[in-house]
């Protein structure tokens, strides 16, 4: 998979996320007579979901294309703490 | 009367060694350190044989050889080319220009002495 395919994949994933978030039946969960600080939950939900979608869209377009380099994933995993020092010693 | 040999090389040590070698072989020896000097020596006194280095300042060995061969008066002079160039094309060029033999440095002193004696034992046929 090259960088641009990954970017394309991001959009496909986001599109499905958008469909799920913004159409029923997921929407049914928030379609109720309830308020948070006086504001109907449906309103809050729709605008928050929309904002999140736009933010993710911005990230998907603005984040640099992933470069596939050997060992890079491992380095990232280590930085995130997924590979502990002990595991490293063991391997 | 012993035969005379002209040694031409710009390397002083090589000249020194050849001088000793030829003298010990019983030849008369003349020395020259570059091509022009060599031609001057030949004009002054025609040697029987010239041991001629190729890479020299002013005139190189090929040019000296050519000039000697161009002069019919010097037709009897045998020429052994002595050079650090060992490429076949160089060797062929030397022989084409009229050298009688061609040896690559470093050479065997005995071999050289033998070749000198062999060349001097027969008259050179001018062709």
């Amino acid at each position: 998979m090259n960088g641009s395919e990954i970017v394309g994949g991001r959009f496909v994933a986001l599109f499905f996320l958008g469909i799920v978030l913004l159409t029923p039946p997921f929407l049914l969960i928030f379609d109720r007579s309830a308020e948070i600080s006086g504001i109907p939950v449906l309103y809050i939900y729709l605008f928050v979901a929309w904002a999140v979608l736009i933010a993710l869209l911005a990230l998907a377009t603005e984040l640099p294309k992933p470069q596939q380099r050997e060992g890079e994933g491992e380095a990232a995993a280590r930085a995130l703490g997924y590979i502990s020092a002990e595991q490293e010693k063991a391997s | 009367m012993s035969q005379s040999i002209l040694i031409v090389d710009d390397e002083a040590y090589i000249v020194t060694s050849l001088e000793y070698l030829m003298k010990s072989g019983g030849f008369e020896v003349e020395l020259a350190y570059d091509g022009e000097e060599a031609l001057a020596k030949v004009a002054e006194n025609i040697p029987d044989l010239i041991i001629l280095d190729v890479m020299m300042p002013k005139l190189d060995g090929f040019e000296v050889c050519e000039k000697i061969r161009a002069n019919p008066l010097w037709g009897s002079v045998r020429i052994i080319m002595l050079t650090a160039k060992d490429r076949e094309s160089e060797r062929k060029r030397g022989l084409d220009l009229g050298a009688d033999d061609y040896m690559t440095k470093p050479f065997s002193t005995r071999d050289l002495l033998e070749r000198v004696k062999k060349l001097l034992s027969v008259e050179r046929i001018v062709g």
């Binding site: 599109f15 308020e35 605008f47 | 002083a12 060992d86 470093p106």
Partner: protein, 923 residues
């Protein structure tokens, strides 16, 4: 204060600003300094999507259906997520094929079909009329409402006032004139309107700011924030139902509106115009992908608060919710804010009208009227020198007619629908283009027959399910038509077709039009065969990202050279024609007899010549006219000419490619030459090295053999010869060291131990190493001038010593044999340390100065008994000094001695990080 004249003056001033921006944009475009070529202006221009429908209508819809207005903006967000796949491809195709409108796009995809272009144009015009009428009525309503300030009262029913007392009529006239001035002032061959785009972007800023201002005022000025408004609504009877989906019209409507707006954002003619045709750079899309949804988000944040604010403020009704944006500030006596709201609504409406009419007029003139006119031979259109006047007239007329139709629609229908419903009618019309376009760019099998059938069927159903009911509901058709179906046939009820009931009219129409459209499109595509042109266009469109020049059949020349010449002579004069043709013959290296068939080159040449005189579009038509007599079918002619221009395009690319190849091959040649040179140098180097090694070896071998064969040699001679062997062995060793050094340096493999050093110590080391040279013969004197405070340098101590030893031993070697003197001087100069070594020897002629630094090159002859150089000392010194970031040179004349001098940069304070140091460690 807010009298009619003042509002008109304010609106007029605003429109003048727009003109100024457009003028500026056009001017900058002419200067090739585009102001619109950036993703932000691009995004704002796409925001032409938000019309007065958004500005006024969203609030109106929210007031009756809660979040029901939102799918119109969520849909585009979803579409833009997929922009990378869909929009990018449409834009690329349009750029490659120089597409000027959505009709052009569809016609071009399906074999350049003029029927299809015409059909699309008709659908677009009829479909967009309701949308335009919506803008007209919004502007006239808002104007009427505002003039009554401070009284909040609604405009009278349009249909009840005579035309000449009708504000909407004057608004139509005014906006029509404005749109003509804006979009059809002059003809731009490229169909780009940079000034218009700049103005539209500006309008997008204005309407957003205006709406946010009203929103903030209502939410925080009139009420106490979002929570306050909604809490109050909660307690008001009848409003709480708007808080859920039920009030929004249910899920069916939600999903169909989402789908509809997903299509509309691409296929509305004005969106296609802005997003695709006016796109200056495909890369701008990347930012617009999230900036445009963000714009939609921002302009929608305050829709609900304003809607509920309005509902709470005017509980007794009587105030059209579509006008809340205007009436709320009016009721609060904020006249300037109300005026700002009016200007915001005006900007939203004008933007839509300008772009829509410009794109429609382009379509009408290029895809509908011109092809029809060109069919009528008796018009002799093709013989007219300049068609721009005609085209402009067509466009201006189109704009006027479209606006007039919009006005009529307002008068006939306007009051019976809310703004949003009218807009949706147009949305569904635009959605009819979706199958033909989406199918066309992803499916090569999509055919012209399929597109015509799908579009035609969809359009007919659109008219039947949406347009006809709108006339019926306004009383222009009998009501029974709707309720019982035409002639009482229940199956054919326009809003319950085939007994499909229970859907809202929009979903109902969307369902039936799409079922028919897609169904016919697929069925006809699968059952019909494509023509050659169609097939090649299909491949070109679908494979736009992997396009090659293959698969195109070449243009078959059918006009004679003589005809082409005659045509050219008509426009550029006989003399000039003869001149240009003789040049052409020269460049083609062939004679072109008049009766010969004109080749592709000749036609292309003629087209270029004509285009230079009468413009590209007219040139093509003119050229077509010459060959038409040979043609049975006009379409075929146009197709062929189109392909001729494609061939030109390909040949231009081929030419570019061949230029590239030429330059690559030139580069290769140069590289090959360099390699050969390097190879030759390497060969020479090896041969020289071999020679240089053989020389001392020869002496060593000779003397060894002599010593071996002459045991009775005098001891004196023996010592002399052994001494020579020793010296020559040393020379051999030195030579080998030097050769190794230089080849390592060249390969960059030499390790440099760089340290910050006091140069004086290094010089003294070198002097100690060469002290022997000065003691040998008492006839060489050494003078040194080494100050104590020399600047530190960042160097490798051993290597610098090596340079100094080289220079000193050279100086000793070449100095005057009887009375030699060597001077060594060190000093700081211009941030560098300079060391010179001078001798009083024979000197070097200036012609040899460069030579001495080359390998195995020594100036002059050497007939001394001193140790000979290796011929590598100076080249190595050069390499070392260069490595230190310095330089070395010689200054000398024959008989005047020689001075070798080098300078190296002084070390910086921290001692490392010097730019000229490539490697090495300081530790």
């Amino acid at each position: 204060m807010l009298q009619g004249w003042f509002i008109i003056a304010a609106a007029f001033a605003y429109l003048c600003v727009l003109f100024a921006i457009a003028y500026w944009g056009d001017k900058r475009a002419a200067e090739k300094r585009s102001i619109i070529s950036n993703p932000y202006v691009y995004t704002l221009s796409i925001a032409v999507y938000c019309t007065s429908w958004t500005f006024y209508g969203s609030v109106g819809r929210a007031a009756s259906s809660g979040v029901g207005f939102l799918p119109i903006y969520l849909g585009p967000t979803l579409t833009f997520i997929l922009a990378w796949f869909v929009l990018r491809k449409i834009i690329r195709i349009s750029k490659v094929n120089r597409i000027t409108s959505i009709a052009d796009f569809i016609a071009s995809r399906y074999g350049k079909s003029s029927y299809l272009g015409g059909l699309v144009t008709i659908i677009a015009v009829i479909g967009i009329v309701p949308y335009i009428s919506l803008q007209l009525s919004a502007v006239s309503d808002s104007f009427t409402v505002l003039t009554q300030y401070p009284v909040v009262a609604m405009a009278e029913k349009v249909s009840s006032v005579p035309i000449f007392a009708d504000t909407a009529f004057y608004v139509s006239l005014f906006l029509g004139a404005f749109a003509i001035l804006f979009g059809a002032r002059h003809l731009d061959a490229s169909e780009h309107h940079e000034g218009m785009v700049a103005a539209i972007a500006f309008e997008s800023v204005v309407k957003l700011l205006a709406f946010l201002a009203i929103g903030l005022f209502v939410t925080y000025g009139v009420y106490d924030g979002f929570g306050d408004i909604f809490s109050r609504a909660q307690t008001t009877e009848g409003l709480a139902k708007l808080f859920t989906m039920e009030g929004a019209g249910g899920y069916g409507s939600w999903v169909s509106l989402t789908l509809l707006s997903m299509a509309a954002i691409i296929f509305l003619p004005r969106q296609f115009q802005m997003t695709v045709v006016e796109c200056t750079n495909e890369r701008h899309l990347k930012k617009a992908v999230w900036l445009f949804p963000l714009y939609l988000f921002l302009i929608n944040i305050f829709v609900l608060p304003i809607a509920f604010g309005g509902l709470l403020h005017f509980p007794q009704g009587g105030v059209n919710a579509d006008m809340f944006v205007l009436t709320l500030p009016m009721a609060e006596h904020q006249e300037m804010l109300a005026l700002f709201a009016f200007i915001g609504g005006l900007s939203a409406a004008t933007a839509m009208i300008i772009v829509a009419t410009v794109s429609l007029s382009t379509m009408v003139s290029n895809d509908l009227v011109m092809p029809v006119l060109l069919r009528f031979a008796w018009l002799h259109l093709s013989r007219r020198a300049d068609l721009t006047g005609l085209i402009l007239t067509i466009r201006r007329t189109t704009i006027a007619v479209v606006l007039l139709m919009g006005y009529l629609y307002v008068r006939l229908i306007g009051d019976s629908y809310a703004l949003v419903s009218i807009g949706l009618v147009s949305f569904i019309a635009a959605a009819q283009f979706a199958p033909a376009i989406i199918g066309g760019i992803f499916w090569k099998g999509a055919s012209r027959a399929g597109a015509i059938a799908g579009l035609g069927g969809g359009f007919v159903l659109w008219a039947y399910t949406l347009l006809v009911p709108s006339f019926a509901r306004s009383g222009r058709l009998p009501e029974s038509f709707l309720l019982d179906g035409p002639l009482g046939i229940g199956m054919l009820k326009p809003q319950a077709l085939f007994w499909l009931e229970g859907l809202d009219p929009t979903s109902h129409a969307l369902f039936w039009t799409m079922v028919i459209n897609i169904g016919l499109f697929l069925a006809f595509s699968l059952c019909s065969s494509q023509s050659v042109v169609e097939r090649s266009q299909a491949v070109q469109f679908v494979d736009v990202f992997k396009r090659t020049a293959t698969g195109r059949h070449t243009w078959q020349g059918r006009a004679t050279v003589g005809e082409i010449k005659q045509l050219l002579a008509r426009f550029i004069g006989r003399v000039r024609m003869e001149n240009t043709f003789s040049e052409l013959e020269k460049s083609l290296v062939q004679v072109l007899p008049d009766e010969g068939v004109a080749s592709v080159e000749v036609v292309a040449f003629a087209e270029r010549q004509l285009a230079g005189t009468i413009g590209a579009a007219s040139a093509r038509i003119m050229l077509a006219s010459v060959v038409r007599e040979e043609m049975h079918d006009m379409d075929e002619m146009l197709e062929i000419l189109d392909e001729a221009s494609q061939v030109i395009e390909y040949s231009r690319r081929l030419e570019e490619k061949s230029h590239q190849l030429q330059s690559v091959s030139d580069d290769l040649k140069a590289a090959n030459f360099q390699l050969k040179e390097l190879d030759k140098l390497k060969d020479e180097f090896i041969s020289t090295v071999s020679h240089e090694l053989r020389t001392p070896l020869t002496s060593i071998r000779s003397f060894s053999e002599i010593l071996h064969d002459n045991p009775d040699m005098s001891e004196e001679k023996q010592n002399e010869f052994v001494g020579i062997i020793v010296k020559e062995s040393e020379r051999l060793t030195r030579l080998l060291d030097n050769i190794l050094d230089i080849s390592k340096m060249e390969a960059g493999k030499l390790e440099w131990q760089l340290k910050v050093l006091d140069p004086k110590e290094v010089i003294e080391d070198a002097l100690a190493a060469t002290a022997g040279l000065f003691q040998q013969g008492d006839n060489i004197r050494l003078h040194t001038d080494l100050p104590d405070n020399l600047p530190a340098v960042h160097v490798d101590s051993d290597r610098l010593t090596q340079v100094l030893v080289n220079l000193i031993s050279n100086a000793v070697k070449f100095c005057d044999m009887d009375d030699g003197t060597v001077w060594i001087t060190a000093k700081a100069k211009d941030g560098a340390l300079c060391v010179s070594v001078r001798d009083n020897g024979i000197g070097i002629s200036p012609g040899d100065h460069e030579k001495v630094f080359k390998r195995f090159q020594q100036a002059g002859t050497l007939e001394t008994q001193k140790p000979r150089g290796t011929g590598l000392g100076l080249p190595i010194s050069v390499e070392i000094i260069v490595q230190f970031g310095g330089e070395i040179w010689v200054d000398s004349e024959i008989g005047a001695g020689a001075t070798f001098e080098f300078c190296i940069p002084v070390a910086s304070d921290d001692g490392d990080g010097l730019p000229f140091i490539k490697e090495g460690s300081t530790g």
